[in-house]
Symmetry: C2
Subunit: 275 residues, 2 copies
């Protein structure tokens, strides 16, 4: 039976789960207690411990490809093995590959094959700069989730995203284009940073039905309560709140996994309270 990202996500939301753990596993920051002989084994062992400690609390996992690519082949193997581990031990939890890809035309087939056929992710993040036409190959995979970057969480994201055309910022043009023109398979979502809760509100108003992936709570200082209030849809769902470092590195001692679980529970409770 084939997995369907949207169905997996809806089932998580049904259980009141909206928190995503960003598996941004920075080798340098991994606690001694998780260390193995090699870099790849260390990252995988750390991820397994984090997954074991959090899998019943989260709606998704989001490994960021950069932290794995940093280590070449070994990193790629650790990324594939991490996704495999999630699929094996938490088959109801979808995996969003935060790879921020996008090329032109059928060149994208390579990225599609990598993310979905090789790594077995359920969803991916993509850049919109080259237009919706440029990411048709991603959107054509109906059973996958395609999260288009809309308003990013970084301090300088407004440089081009906030430029106004016809009274609306570019990020709203992006949101509308993907909601109204390119989402013919109903598998498209948007990335909007928790560091800009007012912008989340504008995106939600412009696209009442799109799933929003909201990174930036935690170390980046995004506002959890406002992100939930502004990001939820008319049914009180429709969003994924993602955080990495505050969970992954909640402790650098031997109890890092328990500390990660404690922090995950706190954030889950905070989201439920904000709803």
């Amino acid at each position: 039976m084939s997995r369907d990202f949207r169905q997996l996500l809806e089932a998580q939301w049904e259980q009141g789960k909206f928190l995503c753990v960003g598996l941004d596993s920075d080798f340098e920051k991994i606690p001694e207690a998780a260390r193995q002989a090699g870099v790849g084994e260390t990252i995988l062992a750390f991820n397994r411990a984090i997954i074991d400690a959090t899998r019943d609390l989260v709606c998704a996992y989001k490994p960021n490809s950069a932290f794995y690519e940093a280590h070449g082949d070994e990193g790629w193997k650790a990324l594939r093995a991490t996704i495999q581990y999630i699929n094996d031990t938490a088959p109801d939890v979808p995996v969003i590959l935060d790879a921020k890809r996008a090329d032109i035309g059928n060149t994208n087939n390579g990225y599609v094959a990598s993310a979905f056929n090789h790594l077995h992710a359920d969803a991916i993040t993509v850049h919109p700069y080259m237009g919706g036409e440029s990411i048709k190959e991603f959107l054509a995979r109906k059973e996958k989730g395609i999260f288009v970057m809309c308003k990013n969480s970084n301090p300088g994201s407004g440089e081009f995203q906030d430029l106004e055309v016809d009274g609306q910022p570019i990020y709203i043009h992006v949101a509308r284009a993907f909601a109204e023109k390119w989402n013919t398979n109903n598998n498209c979502g948007l990335v909007v940073g928790a560091t800009y809760p007012a912008d989340i509100k504008r995106v939600r108003e412009a696209t009442p039905e799109m799933p929003l992936l909201i990174p930036g709570i935690g170390v980046q200082g995004g506002d959890l309560e406002q992100s939930v209030k502004n990001g939820k849809d008319a049914h009180g769902r429709g969003f994924i709140l993602s955080t990495g470092r505050v969970i992954l590195y909640a402790s650098n001692g031997s109890g890092f996994a328990e500390a990660a679980r404690k922090k995950t529970t706190e954030l889950d409770s905070a989201i439920r309270a904000a709803l």
Copy 2:
């Protein structure tokens, strides 16, 4: 002695070389004559043959990461070995990794490490959507070339890139921002598609000094002569014209490498004539 992308490129331009071969090596299209036992070995053998046949004619090679990532670890190994082969056999020819990356803040360090420390590329292509601040980590590598996507060659690239703000399209805002604000290490260039020669002109006028990477001649139908005329700087240099498929798949017979050389020579002559 450390390699410097800009110096390598200037030395190629000094010799009148402006053509870049895009190593977009699609496994399915590789001629029988280059086939080996494995996928990775086949791609590498094909690339070696193309490199052997063209290295004295080109100013750069540009492998597109997607075609390698499509094959997982094996693809990554072929990519790394391809760049190694260029460095070994044509050390004066810089390698532009067409990876179209960009994430936020220090997450980019993973991509920087992958492209430059692990794969040993001399330059990379990046997405500007999240603002210049988001790619500081790339630009901080002074000895590397960072090509920012400006106006892409695909049919739908204008969807957001052509939106006008204060009388100028977004792609001109991107060009200016990188020329005037973010290029403090003088290692930044712009990608402008040969399919839009009038836009190349506008970008060249807005940024007289920036190196322009111009893909899209060949199968995409870009205009070589107009691209050269509009893309060259005041010194009759400053551009890289890139093409892949018309060279790589010039023949699918056992003479594919000779056919690739013939096509490369033709294009090199056409560029010289256009100058």
